[in-house]
């Protein structure tokens, strides 16, 4: 609960061998969003940010990895986000870090769907776009929520004992 955490998307590393997107919607329009064009595919991207996320907190165990339906990116990242996968890294009751990947091609460069094109950015062509969104939490909110959890546990224990065991 009191363990310090980061509060800005820019605290996370940029993807290796990538160009940061300057497109509207990928910079300042939506809070804590960043996007990178690269040739990194899902496995590389997820393991890269898994390590980076864990290193920010210095917990001895990795964050929980949740796989969401791609279309959920319209809620978790922003509306009209192009997507082929969406994963979330999270330490429960703390911050959420969403990784949305848009991969128009398989890693052997076969198109995945009609209209698949490469991305042009920084005078180069790229095969994937990774969009990140970070939902930070403040220490006050974490404290309040933990207080609520402990209070609820206590009330459920006391009332539960009475309801189950008293005649």
């Amino acid at each position: 609960m009191l363990w310090p955490s980061t509060s800005d998307i820019n605290d996370f590393k940029a993807l290796p061998d990538s160009v940061k997107s300057e497109l509207e919607g990928d910079t300042i329009q939506i809070p804590n969003v960043a996007a990178y064009f690269s040739d990194n595919y899902r496995d590389e991207v997820i393991s890269f940010y898994l390590q980076d996320y864990q290193s920010k907190y210095n917990f001895p165990f990795p964050p929980l990895k949740l796989n969401h339906p791609p279309e959920y990116s319209w809620i978790a990242i922003k509306k009209h986000t192009d997507t082929t996968y969406l994963e979330e890294l999270i330490y429960p009751l703390r911050d959420s870090f969403y990784i949305n990947g848009f991969e128009p091609f398989y890693s052997d460069s076969t198109p995945k769907f009609w209209g698949a094109t490469q991305f042009e950015a920084g005078d180069m062509l790229w095969e994937t776009k990774t969009t990140l969104r970070f939902y930070p939490s403040t220490i006050i909110i974490r404290f309040v929520v933990w207080f609520m959890v402990i209070l609820s546990m206590g009330m459920i224990y006391i009332l539960g004992k009475r309801i189950i065991f008293e005649k």
């Binding site: 929980l64 279309e71 999270i90 995945k112 539960g160």
Partner: protein
């Protein structure tokens, strides 16, 4: 004192009115809420009015302290408090809800569940209980007749099964569509009818002779209508509920007869029979002819199954990459790998939506915040398993709070069931079995969130609990 008596009487008739109005009034929206197609309806206003009056009555009759000492009220309050905590956590920590939608869904639950203490405190005598049961029976008859009218006389259908329908459109049943009567969804109607047949079964054996035939007709009609809804889970829930009620009233000899009736119902050609068979052949044994896709693009998209991806279109040809089938033999939106037979397709999708989308979404939500979940409304309109939904939306603590309410309610009804009064005993046996039927339904349908059936569920429980305080 006199004012309290008037208030008591007004509240009793308001509750009686709700028992009739909630099941019968179609789901016409009154006020729309941004971001959802769940609307505020007239019944919400009437319930709010009832809650307000009940609050005044409780204060004026000095019952606040007594109520606060009541374990069931404490359990309800605890559930509401944990629910409010969950809304807070979802809004400010997990950022998984829009606060106004989460509050709307939270207050919906409060609204439904408050009907339990209201019914339990304002129904004071056995005579009042019987008045309500008679009104309920007439209401059930009206629901059934209206359903028959929809099926055979083209009477209007109001549905909330999608965002467009839920605006209050007047529809008609199309061939093969399932009847929903005044319940706006065939599943909701099926849950209501399952509860009806389960309660009527023991009542049939305890009422005076002159009431036996009307109850038998009403029960048979409800059972027939239940078959017409083709809702498999509710049918199974009704079956188990009837068996439970027969065991509770110690008429075990009837079990063989019940099995025979159920087997006949399953053999007789109906959508229900076809869907039950398809459940076994398609969902369990993966049989049935599958659609393979007509174009390369369909096959490619079928593999990805991401609705937000671009769809191939052409300005020179009518053929596109969508899964539309111009022949009319196939469902227009069929995807490669799905059964071609329409009944099998419906059954397949019904299960796959739960297995691949709704249930994993609820499990993810639970993992994200195991204590308080990701908040009411975070899982959308449906999870089709009320217990997973509860774990996902309100976490382990919210679910435990809910379970405590159910345990305390069941314990009390069990005590009433031990009563010497045969009518009360048989009525309680029916209610205990109804709870079981609801729990079974809850494994595949969100029964505790479906407004009409959830409201009626808590009111009927209140009706039974009112017996504890009867004056005669």
């Amino acid at each position: 004192m006199k004012f309290n008596k008037y208030l008591e009487l007004i509240l009793f008739w308001l509750v009686a009115f709700l028992f009739v109005f909630i099941p019968l009034y179609p789901k016409f929206p009154l006020l729309n809420v941004q971001g959802t197609f769940v609307a505020i309806r007239i019944e919400d206003i009437v319930i709010a009015l009832t809650v307000g009056l009940w609050g005044i009555y409780i204060i004026l009759s000095n019952q606040v302290r007594i109520l606060l000492k009541d374990k069931l009220i404490q359990a309800l309050l605890l559930f509401f408090v944990v629910g409010a905590f969950s809304v807070f956590s979802a809004t400010f920590l997990t950022h998984s809800v829009s606060w106004h939608l989460s509050l709307l869904h939270f207050f919906r639950r409060v609204e439904f569940m408050l009907l339990l203490p209201i019914a339990a405190t304002v129904i004071k005598t056995k005579r009042q209980l019987i008045i309500i049961l008679i009104l309920l029976s007439i209401t059930v008859a009206a629901v059934n007749l209206y359903g028959l009218g929809q099926q055979y006389l083209d009477w209007p259908v109001i549905s909330t099964t999608n965002s467009e329908f839920s605006k209050g459109l007047i529809l008609r049943l199309t061939p093969g569509a399932r009847v929903n009567s005044t319940f706006a969804g065939h599943y909701d109607l099926a849950v209501f009818l399952a509860a009806t047949v389960v309660i009527l079964t023991p009542l049939f054996f305890v009422v005076k002779k002159r009431f036996k035939i009307p109850i038998f007709v009403l029960g048979s009609l409800s059972f027939l209508m239940l078959i017409m809804t083709a809702a498999r889970v509710s049918f199974v829930a009704a079956f188990i509920g009837i068996i439970s009620s027969v065991i509770l009233i110690k008429k075990r000899k009837l079990l063989a007869l019940i099995f025979v009736v159920i087997i006949i119902a399953l053999i007789y050609p109906s959508q229900l029979r076809d869907r039950l068979i398809s459940t076994i052949t398609v969902n369990l044994f993966q049989q049935g002819q599958r659609y393979e896709g007509k174009t390369q693009d369909q096959k490619i998209r079928g593999k990805l199954n991401i609705p937000t991806l671009a769809i191939k279109t052409s300005s020179t040809s009518a053929s596109t990459s969508t899964f539309a089938s111009p022949s009319g033999d196939l469902a227009t939106d069929i995807a490669p790998g799905e059964p071609v037979d329409t009944t099998q397709l419906g059954v397949y999708r019904s299960f796959q939506i739960r297995l691949q989308i709704e249930w994993p979404r609820a499990i993810n939500a639970f993992l994200k915040n195991p204590f308080l979940g990701t908040g009411y409304s975070s899982l959308g309109i449906a999870t089709d398993n009320d217990f997973l939904r509860s774990l996902g939306e309100a976490g382990l603590l919210g679910t435990l709070g809910f379970i405590l309410v159910l345990i305390e309610t069941v314990k009390r009804i069990w005590r009433i069931y031990k009563s010497e009064d045969k009518f009360i005993k048989y009525f309680s046996a029916g209610i205990l079995s109804m709870i079981l039927a609801f729990v079974i339904n809850g494994l595949f349908i969100d029964v505790f969130e479906a407004s009409k059936v959830a409201s009626l569920f808590w009111m009927i429980l209140g009706l039974n609990l009112a017996v504890e305080k009867f004056k005669e």
